[in-house]
């Protein structure tokens, strides 16, 4: 599961819990009021008088309404944000067999492919839906052809995976701190 799905799942669980408890609390108040009891959990007489004494153009009402708009936008953002994929589809073989590669393992594999290049001290990779980014640390400041060598290694690795959708590759070289 990706970080985005985790956030969505946690927010959904909290929201469901809040809706469940909130609804039950109001039902308890309705039953208590029907039995002629004083408010048990929600001080609704104070809330009612507050709503009666404040008009729509009061600043505090506007702040609450603005909060509702922000919350609504956050929910929509969570609902529509796709984030990074958990896995990347590979070209499928026979009918009924779907192949995929986990994104994290592809990142590790690309980093390893880049790190195998001569003159590269270490590398890290990040894969999104369309692009594979590789950050490689070189030993020397400017070895000719090193970028092409890293790119070739990374492309070779991507080709061997047989991804359904071809990824663009971006290689960034940084000189290793040699202090």
């Amino acid at each position: 599961m990706t970080a985005t799905s985790w956030v969505t799942r946690v927010v959904s669980a909290l929201l469901a819990l809040a809706l469940l408890l909130g609804s039950l609390m109001v039902v308890v108040e309705i039953v208590a009021a029907a039995l002629g009891r004083a408010p048990a959990l929600v001080p609704y007489p104070e809330w009612t008088s507050w709503l009666r004494t404040h008009s729509w153009n009061d600043w505090i009402v506007n702040v609450v309404l603005g909060g509702l708009v922000v919350l609504g936008l956050l929910f929509l953002l969570l609902a529509f944000r796709r984030g990074k994929p958990a896995s990347l589809a590979l070209r499928s073989g026979s009918a009924g067999v779907d192949f995929a590669a986990s994104r994290r393992s592809v990142e590790k594999s690309l980093a390893a492919a880049a790190a195998r290049t001569t003159g590269i001290a270490g590398a890290s990779a990040s894969v999104s839906r369309r692009t594979a980014r590789v950050d490689a640390r070189t030993v020397a400041r400017s070895e000719p052809g090193i970028r092409e060598a890293v790119e070739s290694g990374v492309r070779g690795r991507l080709d061997s995976l047989g991804l359904e959708r071809r990824l663009r590759t971006r290689v960034r070289l940084t000189a290793k701190d040699t202090r």
Partner: protein, 192 residues
């Protein structure tokens, strides 16, 4: 983890987001006088609204009924978060009149895992039976960095999947295979 939960979360969050956006947006429009300047100075809860339930005893019971419905839906939504797609039994019933045939998923997944582990380059394998739009086997295969991915794929398809389908008696039984290339640690090149 359940894919169904992801879909439900997106739908419910969209509905709630739109409701909050509409409520907040309309309230703000009201406060700036978009529906008439006089409305902006009107109380948020006018007297005619707050006195509406007086003399209508059914009103609060109707509200309580609606809230109980929301509480039940919220409980179902909450439970969805903890449900997994995995299942422990595989239903192979062809005709319910003749009886039911179920297969322990672990018997099948153990066999699949063992066979996958026999392929050169495979360092670890785990299989589960998932229930999402029908049953299917999900096989996760970790590969050594040096593994020949093409060769592993071919053997998985021609041997592991073929035997699995033979075992369940369905030549089209759906299988999803997730490869994890380079999941086993590769020593990093050190340059001095």
């Amino acid at each position: 983890m359940s894919r169904r939960a992801n879909v439900i979360n997106r739908v419910v969050l969209t509905v709630l987001g739109l409701l909050l956006l509409a409520a907040g947006g309309l309230g703000l429009a009201l406060s700036v006088g978009a529906f008439g300047a006089w409305r902006a100075t009107y109380p948020v809860l006018p007297r005619e609204v707050s006195t509406f339930p007086d003399g209508r005893p059914w009103f609060w019971w109707a509200v309580a009924g609606g809230l109980l419905l929301i509480a039940v839906l919220a409980l179902l939504w909450l439970l969805t978060q903890f449900k997994a797609d995995r299942t422990t039994r595989l239903d192979r019933t062809t005709n319910a009149r003749d009886g039911y045939t179920t297969l322990h998923a672990s018997a099948l997944t153990d066999a699949v895992e063992n066979e996958a582990l026999g392929i050169t380059g495979v360092t670890s394998a785990s299989a589960n039976v998932h229930e999402h739009r029908g049953q299917h086997v999900f096989l996760r295969v970790e590969l050594a960095d040096s593994a020949d991915i093409g060769e592993v794929r071919t053997r998985l398809e021609n041997e592991v999947v073929a035997h699995l389908r033979e075992g369940v008696g369905d030549p089209r039984f759906p299988v999803t295979i997730e490869l994890r290339p380079g999941a086993s640690r590769t020593p990093q090149r050190s340059v001095t």
